[in-house]
Amino acid sequence: MNRAEKALHALKQMDELTEMDSPVHRLSALSKLLVTLLFILITVSFHKYDLTGVFMMALYPYVLFQLSGISFRLCIYRMRYAIPLVAMIGIFNPFFDRDPLLQIAGISISGGMISFLTLLLKGMLCLCASFLLVSTAKIDDLCAALRRMHVPSLLVTVFMLTYRYISVLTEEVALMTDAYHLRAPGQKGIAFHAWGSFLGQLLLRTMDRAQELYAAMLLRGYNGEFPDLQKNENRTASWIWLITWAVIFLALRWLNIPDLIGRMFMR
């Protein structure tokens, strides 16, 4: 599989996840989007040494993975490029911040170690939350949610159309890549002399495609505005979902729950 095919495969997987049915899938995309944003905001706001506090935030992805039936493994697989990048920035913490912060059974753990782990955990939780959002909300529901958040219609329309044509163009790149390599065995990528024409050809076809697409839109009465996508969804359940999580997140943020539980058992 070439890179483009891998991307197509990943997109297909995401589409299939959104086509599943679960209590989470049935909630409105707007409530899921707001909960996700709130979750990320609260998670990153934890102090850099507050490993236990961030750990408790895992409650949200944990509950969502349980409720939605989305594969946790696939989510971890998706993070394989993003997490090392976060780690690269945090890996220096243990070297620069050597002050002991904790003593457990005579072993002292430095602040840098804790902040590194906290950073990694934050990164993973935020990625989990985003993954859970796009694997339980369809693209058109997301667009409708963005419109309800008053994101300008121009951006939402371009987003929707882009998503539609990403698979078309990526498929074309996948085919072109295969065709190139069939006639250029042993080459790893596109050779220097073909740099311009390879993507350039696709670019010219893409501009023609845009013209034809525009014609198709005009022929069906397009006048500069797309009609808003309307959704039938359970508003009460969505509100309850949003408020419940907001309360839980705030409680997790301002009450040191793991410390309370730990003290209960340590006394």
Binding site: R220, G221, Y222
Partner: protein, 239 residues
Amino acid sequence: MIEIRNLTYEYEPGKPVLKNISFTVEDGERVGLIGANGAGKSTLMKLMLGLLESTDAVFADGVPVKKDTLPEIRRKLGFVLQNSDHQMFMPTVAQDIAFGLLNYGMGQTEADRKTDEVLNQLHVSYLKDKYNHRISGGEKRMAAIAAVLAMEPSALLMDEPTSALDPENRRRIIQLICSLPQTCIITSHDLDMILDTCSRVILLDQGGIIKDGPAETILRDRELLEAHHMELPLSLSRR
């Protein structure tokens, strides 16, 4: 009724791609527009739809195609593009069908009802909530035709409706076209399909009408077809 009177069109001055085209298509008639690549078929289609500008040369039900009549013309003439990916630009099939209806001022509930109706008519109700980028080529073509039929046009223009379809889907499209009460103008290189669907054929070459007559006569005329870079339909050629 679609009427074309003395239509001439040039992209660059002095190089006309269409020369003095005139013909009339009666209500309910199915006409095949055939000709080699570059004969001017696509340009002719675009002029009929007002995608290219012409003056007092194309009339649909007596209404001339010009800038201020475009909304009315496009309501009357439905166009099925060769590449369904270009036609189906909304996320799901149902949203795509509703797109045109909503643009022409229909309410959401009414548009939903119409969507269900037209999908039922084509026996593809299962496509309704499918993503457009996830369905097969044959399904895309069906959905594209549904999106055009939902607008209740009085005539359909189709550009290569059977290209890149497997035999079963091709057969399905042919049956569908034959069952439509609307006027149809079909351009295609699939002459067997034209023979199956159309009663009349217009042969274009180098921007002019070479022959306009019954499909059975023109499509059997080996000499005429070969003189204009075409071949007999497979079903008519002796092995």
